[in-house]
Amino acid sequence: MAGREALLRVEGVSKHFGGVKAVDDVSLEVGAGEVVGIIGDNGAGKSTLIKMISGVYTPDGGTIYFDGKQTVGLSPREIREMGIETIYQDLALADNLDASSNIFLGREPVKSRLFRTVDRALMMEDADKTLRKLGFQLPSLKRHARDLSGGQRQGVAIARAMHWNAKLLIMDEPTASVGVAGRRNIYKLVNNLREKDIPVIYVTPNVREAFGIVNKLAVIRRGRKVAERMINNTTVDEIVGFIVGSKSEE
């Protein structure tokens, strides 16, 4: 990372909900090819933090730079257009729509510019290609999302994020609801991205999983970043200590 400008710079962001400080003065840098783990207990503020990066929440304080540009105040759509793709924990699928419609949700290809019609044939073709490339097999692209298994739904959500040549991928607890095969697929995806120098923010509550996949770990506790460690410079015990609060740097 030395000598390289970080692609994403989060500088002292905070977010309150009523009287609750969900995220308090958190800073974080993510550089090319890095897989940065964000780890912490349930309710520590991990999801709030990534939702500020993806534009769902606007921080109450602090700033965020992506690719040298300030992103605070931009809509989720504008942030997606800059190249930050997010796979949310609940996957954010429209259950009444088929896989291809979900992959192209909000970015449907236009067939006739005059009448603004959807190019469904192109959507099917591209969705199929993307899913195959990622190693996901769906029984039918026309099946509604609610009729798909957990792993298949995950595949659709990942395909949606990966279809647009993301410059940064955020994954919020991606292995929470998938089986062994789905998990392996996700690790493979993260490693592929690392090889292509595309950074990943990987949110997880699971320390052992994090050690198998990330380069750097940021520990969030009660809304604050309590520690940041390169993975080959720390131990599971140390990280667990930070998570539960038996250990602190201050």
């Binding site: 699928l93 429209a94 009444n96 909000g106 603004r116 959807v118 949606r160």
Partner: protein, 361 residues
């Protein structure tokens, strides 16, 4: 799938097949219901299988369909619109008053009718705009907002003409509304837009102009809902509004357009009412509200949003029209229509719930 049906898998395979049939049944039950209804009425002496019988059903369905097709967009988006009960009348009244006053002021009747139609339709997007803005910007639930706008429209329509129907329209209005596209006269063949000028022969009209208008409008609405990006976004919002927002769909904008489009349909219904009856009763839309909401749900839309089609709504409206005209043909008291309609709506929502439960398993 069938090849894997070894002994071990046979049971689950059978269950899956059974579920598949139930699912197909869930999709087509309304068509079957329509066929059964037509057969029951026919066996009791109602005449649907003649050109007049069929056209009577279509005429009875015209206003319901126009309102219901507009309501379909709103219901798919996850909302509901109660306002057509008086928005239909208000738009019709504005169009009719323009026609009446221009005609009384000495304008050419054709000009008066065209200006009245355009005026009524142009105004008709306003209630939808108000609904959409309040729902999206002030976050008031659609049910409450549209009850409010219904009340406002009710007051406005009664005030617009002192609470009495708008009459004394140019005679051209009734001519348009009660003319058929083609006429067949035995011995004289077909003629367009009027029977041949021969005394003493009887002609059969084919395709009333209001029905033609309805078919054109509904075809356009079908294209909008099923082919355009706007239509796709209406479905996405109804399916998961949060996901739609996260993916960058301009949710408020789409909802605003959906309510305006629906309102435009209520305006169309108001104008067709004026053409057919050459007058406008302030409460013209009132009986259409329940019928059209019934048509939408019988047609397969879901209370929760995300589901529904124009084709389904058309079938739903036909079922209601068959119920109404069939009971009239059998000389049953018209009040039974309301009871039958109420039962049909409850049945439709029951099927919707049953389907949802089935799919969860």
């Amino acid at each position: 799938m069938g090849e894997q049906g070894t002994n071990r898998n046979n049971a689950s395979w059978g269950a899956r097949q059974g579920k598949r049939y139930l699912r197909i049944l869930g999709k087509v039950w309304s068509i079957l219901f329509l066929i059964v209804l037509v057969m029951i009425f026919s066996s009791r002496g109602a005449n649907f299988f003649s050109i007049m019988g069929l056209q009577n059903v279509l005429l009875a369905a015209t206003l319901i369909m126009l309102v219901a097709v507009g309501e379909t967009f709103v219901v798919i988006s996850g909302g509901i619109d109660i306002s057509p009960a008086y928005v239909v009348g208000l738009c019709g009244a504005i169009g009719a008053i323009i026609m009446r006053d221009m005609y009384a002021g000495g304008s050419n009747p054709a000009v008066a009718v065209i200006v009245g139609m355009v005026g009524g339709l142009a105004f008709s997007v306003v209630p939808g705009l108000v609904n959409g803005l309040i729902i999206t910007k002030m976050k008031v639930p659609p049910f409450i907002v549209t009850i409010g706008t219904m009340g406002i429209a009710e007051g406005a329509v009664f005030l617009s003409n002192g609470g009495v129907p708008v009459r004394e329209l140019p005679p051209l209005v009734a001519n348009i509304g009660n003319t058929f596209v083609a006429y067949y006269t035995s011995g004289h063949g077909f003629s367009l837009f009027g029977p041949p000028d021969v005394a003493g022969v009887k002609s059969v009209g084919i395709l009333p102009i209001p029905v033609l208008m309805m078919i054109v409008v509904i075809a356009v609405m079908w294209l909008i809902l099923s082919k355009t990006i706007f239509g796709q976004h209406v479905y996405a919002i109804g399916g998961n509004i949060q996901a739609a927002r996260l993916s960058g769909i301009p949710v408020d904008n789409v909802l605003l357009k959906a309510y305006m489009l629906a309102s435009l349909m209520y305006g169309c219904a108001g104008m067709v009412y004026v053409l057919r009856f050459a007058s406008l009763a302030p409460n013209a839309g009132e009986p259409l509200l329940i019928s059209s909401i019934g048509a939408v749900f019988i047609g397969g839309a879901s209370m929760a949003g995300g589901y529904g089609t124009i084709g389904g709504t058309v079938i739903g409206a036909l079922i209601i029209a068959v119920l109404q005209t069939g009971l009239v043909m059998l000389l049953v008291s018209p009040f039974f229509q309301y009871i039958a309609l109420g039962c049909a709506i409850i049945l439709a929502v029951f099927v919707d719930q049953f389907k949802a439960k089935l799919l969860q398993e």
